[in-house]
């Protein structure tokens, strides 16, 4: 018996060691390398350089822009998200359930494709809306200019507000309706209740959603790259990209990148810390005991205007840009009018079957996402199992390392893998697909850990113990009991990684080589090179893949739920 006991402890520690090793190599060392490179030159602490880099006007400007953009996007997303969440869960708005699904669509659309569409609609010289308005009203100047901070903030908000929307509408639906009813019976009207009871109770969810938006926007590459670079407006990620590409990857540029990245990591860490702090402080028990429908505010005369407003919002932010991408993607030349004579399917066939660059990009994205999703899912299951289920000493190291990926922006991960895998440690993956693969694993580890640990926490320890009591070995209990039970979580993790990886831009754009473009990179570089029509055609293919992917996930996750 004793021998056997010792043996099983051995396995546990082996698993722990393996999980720690993977996280260290994939996540921790790259981050340490960034901080090290930022702080030390030739092995010596060098603060002076850091101050110098940060006081250069254009890095300083990038920092400021990142803050302004993140601040603006967070503010607007919070207002829009809270308003629509309240509208669909607390009022008698018609078609609420449909509207709720519609408000989630921007989530699955890549924001850089949205930015591309808005550029086509609202760029001052050639934007279709501008041209239309100028012709119709005989204007001298174009009425809109999408380039610049305001344009960037507006477009990012369109795609990021669902973070707040999901958090708040979820919290509103889970909230115990008697909390509001007891205020009502106490004599308070609906407005007073909203102000004094509902909003204060929702505050933690609102702040949590807002911080997610801030975290995402601060480190976002796509929209500022498309709508800012052209007019000389950079945020931190686009500045890092510009420096590295201008100097063809010189050490100086990479060092500036690491300094700016360190700032991103620190801000992300602060944001996540603030979030966990707020969630802990505000963990009110507002979950309903028995389900009762909450009292809905009767909109009366405002019903139709608010419905029209919601539909208009969806039409402008989702349908208009999507349609624009498809229309421009089938134009013979960019700038032509939209009529059947000017339309063609040649762009699509050329991109899909004839042009090696785009064919490669689609293929690269597919196999890289597939491989990264599969590996990250498995590794994530292993690490989550050790974190959630095993009682091993030294687990806290893993818990700390496990939180790390959550706070790493894509740009930072890209720089980290460049430092780690470009020959410094004997392995040079630069310009190969492998470096993108490693970066994807690091970037999406957080998703896998989240989904897998959530699934594992649902599996009560006694289920595994019951299997052991029936005579199963640890491995048999795992294989026959635990894994079948967490399979939905694993499948969810796979798709949570596969779909975003398919359209990834921020990380890939710093890592791609001549033959390793991904779909995102190809769309971005086509747009940079002025091949707007081909960029739009490839973007429309990407959109079709994304929509089909989402439908497949829905089917699979639904049948999974039915299975359990």
């Amino acid at each position: 018996m004793l021998g056997r006991y010792i043996k099983s402890v051995g396995i546990a520690e082996l698993l722990l060691a393996l999980s720690v090793l993977i996280l260290v190599v994939v996540v921790a060392v790259p981050v340490l390398l960034i901080v090290w490179t930022a702080l030390f030159v030739d092995g010596q602490l060098n603060i002076k350089d850091i101050v110098m880099v940060l006081s250069e006007p254009d890095t300083y400007e990038a920092l400021k822009n990142s803050l302004v953009i993140a601040g603006g996007v967070t503010f607007l997303s919070t207002i829009i998200g809270v308003f629509f969440a309240w509208l669909v869960s607390r009022t008698d708005l018609p078609f609420k359930n449909t509207m709720k699904l519609l408000f989630l669509i921007p989530f699955m659309l890549p924001s850089f494709i949205g930015a591309l569409a808005w550029k086509m609609l609202l760029s001052p010289r050639s934007g279709y809306v501008n041209k239309f308005l100028m012709n119709t009203f005989g204007l001298e100047d174009s009425p809109f200019d999408i380039y610049g901070l305001i344009g960037i903030i507006a477009v990012e908000t369109m795609y990021l507000f669902p973070f707040v929307f999901i958090q708040v509408s979820g919290a509103l639906e889970r909230m115990d309706p008697t909390l509001e009813e007891s205020a009502r019976i106490s004599g308070a009207g609906l407005l007073t209740i909203t102000r004094k009871i509902t909003l204060p109770l929702m505050l933690p969810s609102i702040v949590a959603g807002a911080l997610l938006v801030a975290l995402y926007s601060l480190a976002h590459f796509g929209v500022p790259a498309i709508l800012g670079t052209e007019v000389g407006i950079y945020n931190i990620p686009t500045k890092i990209y510009e420096r590295i590409y201008q100097s063809a990857g010189s050490f100086d540029a990479i060092r500036t990148g690491t300094i700016l990245s360190s700032i991103l990591v620190i801000s992300a860490g602060l944001i996540l810390y603030a979030q966990s702090f707020i969630l802990k402080a505000g963990r009110f028990q507002v979950i309903a005991g028995k389900s009762m429908r909450p009292t809905l505010l009767k909109l009366r005369g405002l019903k139709m205007p608010l419905l029209v407003l919601s539909i208009l919002y969806i039409a402008i932010t989702v349908i208009l840009p999507t349609v624009t991408i498809f229309m421009v993607g089938s134009l013979k030349t960019y700038g032509l009018e939209f009529n059947l004579e000017n339309m063609t399917l040649d762009n699509l066939t050329y991109i899909l079957f004839d042009w090696k660059m785009t064919k490669d990009a689609i293929w690269n994205s597919f196999y890289l996402s597939l491989a990264a999703a599969f590996v990250t899912m498995l590794v994530g299951t292993l690490i989550s199992y050790v974190i959630v289920k095993m009682k091993v000493r030294g687990k806290f190291i893993l818990e700390f390392l496990g939180v790390l990926p959550f706070s790493l922006p894509g740009t930072v991960i890209a720089l980290g893998v460049i430092l780690m895998w470009s020959g410094k440690f004997g392995i040079n993956l630069y310009n190969t697909a492998w470096i993108i693969f490693v970066a994807y694993v690091a970037r999406y580890m957080a998703f896998s850990l989240k989904s897998n640990s959530a699934a594992l926490e649902q599996v009560h320890d006694s289920l595994e113990e019951a299997a052991r009591a029936c005579g199963a070995t640890h491995w048999q209990a795992l294989k026959d009991i635990v894994i079948p039970l967490i399979k939905p979580g694993m499948v969810a993790a796979f798709f949570l990684i596969f779909l975003p990886a398919l359209r990834e831009l921020t990380t890939s754009v710093l890592l791609y080589g001549p033959t390793t473009r991904t779909i995102g990179v190809a769309i971005y570089t086509l747009n940079e090179d002025g091949e707007t029509v081909y960029a739009a055609a490839l973007a429309s293919i990407a959109l079709v893949i994304i929509v089909v992917g989402q439908l497949v996930i829905k089917r699979i996750t639904r049948s999974n739920v039915e299975g359990v």
Binding site: S182, S186, L201, F284, A288, K290
Partner: protein, 351 residues
Amino acid sequence: MSYVKLQNITKRFGSVVAVNDLSIEIEKGECFSMLGPSGCGKTTTLRMLAGFEDLDEGEISVGEQLFSSSHKGYYLPPEKRNFGMVFQAFAVWPHLNVFNNVAFPLQIRGLSRAEIGERTKSAILHTGLARYENAYPNELSSGQKQRIALARAIAINPAVMLLDEPLSNLDPKLREEMRFEIKDLQRKFGFTIVFVTHDQSEAMALSDRILVMRDGVAQQIDTPLNIYTKPANRFIFSFIGLSNFLPVVVKKGSVYIEGVEDSGPVSKTLPDGVSSDRLTLACRPSEVDLVKSGGVKAIVKRKVYLGEIIDYRIMVGGTEVRVQKGRRSTHFAEGDTCCLKFSRPIWYPGD
């Protein structure tokens, strides 16, 4: 003189009739409870009285004031009804401390600071929360949370108090304690109580009158004693306590238990108004006598000691009967033959 009046109220959710043509009259100062299994419409009725649900038919009024009326299209919103109400899940606001939770209804009414302070303190004192005035709900136990809800409800000194299963989230010991406290508060403040519960002993302990409901229809409105001793139908009989039902047949003016007609009749007189020759005998396990001879023949199947009482399962004819006797009574062993005497049988129509 009835005070709270619900007249012919009906409520439908889609095609489901949640409450069907229900009429209740409650007197001032009465403690009236609505009892029934979940889904029987008792909570819906209370929510219509509170104003959270509209009526499809009928009228609700309290005193001289009309609250809801379907045919007049009139509906007074809950915040104008001046009720005190306590919910099952406590519904105390986690972002406000005890004082502010209790003061909320007074603040809404725009009273002066001094008066709010005075009345809040009094309500807190009466519910035994004086030490916790500045505590937040998540620092308190569930019993204390329910006391906050009670204090908040009595703060405005309401004429009518609505209680929606206020005790079912508490543990059994606390539940019994709170029954007395609610009763004491009622004596002190003189409000009328309308109480919803699925727990029959709670309804018995608290109420002056009980309404038993099933599938949205009133079954019986009566005092606790009458509900227990004279249940109007089989459903109430079985809902209100432990129960046995035995099929019986009527032959030549006497009543026999089916299958054991040879051991003699259980009753030589027919219950009033019987026309059918098949009936059901209903009895409580404690109201069956277990004797050596001189009753209906039966066999002891199972015997379980429950401390103070002994719980027998006994086969009579083809039916199993549950009998509970004090531990000092004559014992029978499993497998023994015995005789049953039914001291207070109640008759319902046969199956």
